[in-house]
């Protein structure tokens, strides 16, 4: 498992107050993990803080699951 996905899951588990084991790679933030709309925004902010990056709001909020988040974050990191 990549470092990014581990950290994405950890941040998600901490913020949504759920067990890390409950989160699989394709888990959807809203439907499967119960993120409310404000928590979605907080997740974006938490990823930004964790990875020290800045994410475009409308693109980031279009990300629906763990795997997509990992891909998105890796791209942002790669762009520098």
């Amino acid at each position: 498992m990549s470092d990014t996905i581990t950290r994405v899951k950890k941040v998600t588990a901490d913020l949504l107050k759920i067990n890390l084991e409950q989160i699989d790679d394709n888990a959807r933030f809203v439907e499967d993990l119960g993120a409310e709309s404000i928590q979605s925004i907080e997740l974006v902010a938490a990823f930004e803080e964790e990875f020290d990056i800045e994410m475009d709001e409308d693109a980031a909020l279009a990300v629906r699951n763990i795997n997509d988040a990992v891909t998105f974050i890796d791209k942002v990191i790669a762009r520098g």
């Binding site: 404000i38 925004i41 907080e42 803080e49 709001e57 409308d58």
Partner: protein
Amino acid sequence: MREEFRLLTRDEIDQLISQGCRSTNWNEVWVAHDFDPQTIVAASFEGEVYIGSLSSAEGEGKKPAISHATIVNTQIGPDCQIRNVHGRIENIALGQGVRIENIGSLICSGRTSFGNGVKVAVINEGGGRELPITTGTTSQLAYLFTLYRHRPLLIKQLSRIFDEQVDDLAADRGSIGDSTTILNCPWLENISTGNNVEISGADRLVNGTIEAHSHIGDGVIANDFIVLAGAELDSGAIIEKSLVGEGCRIGKQFSAENSTFFANCEGFHSEACSVFAGPYTVTHHRSTLLIAGLFSFFNAGSATNQSNHMYKLGPVHQGILERGCKTGSGSYLLWPARAGAFSAIRGKHYSNFDTSDFPFSYIDIDKGKSTLIPGMNFLTVGILRDSQKWHKRDRRLEGHKQDLINFEVLSPYTAQKMLRGQQIMTELYDSSPKTQESIIYQGIHIRRLLLKTCRRYYQMALDIYWGEILLRRLERWNQNENPSEIFLEPEPQGEAGTGEWVDIAGMLVRQSRLERLIKAIEAQELDYIFAVNHGLLQCYNAYSIDEWNWFLATQEELTGNQLTLENVLMMLGKWKTASKKYYNLVRNDARKEFEGPVRTGFGIDGNSDKDFAAVRGDFEHNDFVQWVTRQADLLDERCQKAINQLQIG
């Protein structure tokens, strides 16, 4: 006046008597020179009565103009019709073409000012801000009088100005304006109306003025009141010690006391007590109480409620919801509290917060605590739709727009707050450990993680606003003018610097300009009500030039340098980027109305998608979504056109 009239002849008196008329003294009944005694049947005259030129109503049976009425010390204008007055009409001047039918009494019981000068305990139910209501009380004047109590000289001068207006309006006789209709009303006492007023079915109207083109309908009870031009008071409304402003609609059993409703307010079903309702305050739902607060451009959700006391020294607390706020169904606010402009408030709040530096926010409840999400409301469908509808819903009549209203959502007023909000969020973020979940600021929780994100929301709004200012400037630019002068120079008549802006009940104004006006009032340079309102109008008219100067000074403060044409081009680029992002986020917000849980309940026995599509349509074909999409599509073109114009210039 008597030269327009003559006394009755003996034959005319005899004919009137034969038609069931009587008088305590026929020598006090004066009639128009062309008087026709056939026009009056079964009428009784007491005291001095003047009767203008009358004609019987056309149609079957040719009804007499006056029948079954007791008229006391009254002047009846030409072409009036008065029928079935069960009590009397006393001490009234009726204008031309007034129609009165099936009423109890319409009387003036002595010298009165017809509701002018009634003191209304707005905002603080316990008193201390009593506002004398008059027909000249604009929302701006009311704002200064109620909220500038720290300026005793201003209050003293305004009190004198109000008193003088009240004296001017006082009379021993009520007046009913031309072409006014009064039907089916049991009791009207000390009432004055303008022209073309319609009063029909009102239960009881006492001590009030009803300005032109207003409508007072079924079951209305009003005491000590002013109704300004073009307003409607209908269907069982109960109004006491209140002002109903131009274009307002009040009805459906709404009750109000000690309240003012300025332009285009709407109050149905619910209750208002000690409310200063600035322009476009709207409450439509039962179980909604607005109390002891200052509102404007406000929309109250059903069962919205506030408390203005905590069982200590009485109802002394006050609340402020700055312009553009909304409360969700069942929301509750414990006064004192103050919410920043254009905020959406949901849930029950028991903390006394002040979020005035955080416009466009969500104020929500999280685990029982009041929580602020700054800037989030800017990105919603609601604000954009509201900003489009206010202009369209201005029901005021031409020539009757005395409240001064700036409709702008993005303005120096909201921009200065966003700039302050950004600074506060930066300081809070930098000073909070990462382990801290939330921070309490002025009585409300803010999630630490959101501080950076919300700061960006404000930047997006500011980038859009700066660009819009420049584009507006471009529209008025004659290309023969030097672009440096137009885009980089302040307006000579405008206020200088980055000073504060205030929202005085619907009007946005530089505080320094308002301060000069206040000083002029204090110095008695403006010493009557129309002069003060004219001074306010001049402040209102200076909005654009003051906005421009504030923008230039703010840019200089933000960047440390004077604006250059290169900066202007750069800002237009940022405007385009931010606007694109904004429209995308609004579209995404609108999309929520078509996805997931909103489909719950559709297709009661199956076919839920088809049922939803039939009732709600689909996202891409929604009118609002299409409009937003068009705006987004136009951004490149608008930006490029502006850049080309500037580069050519």
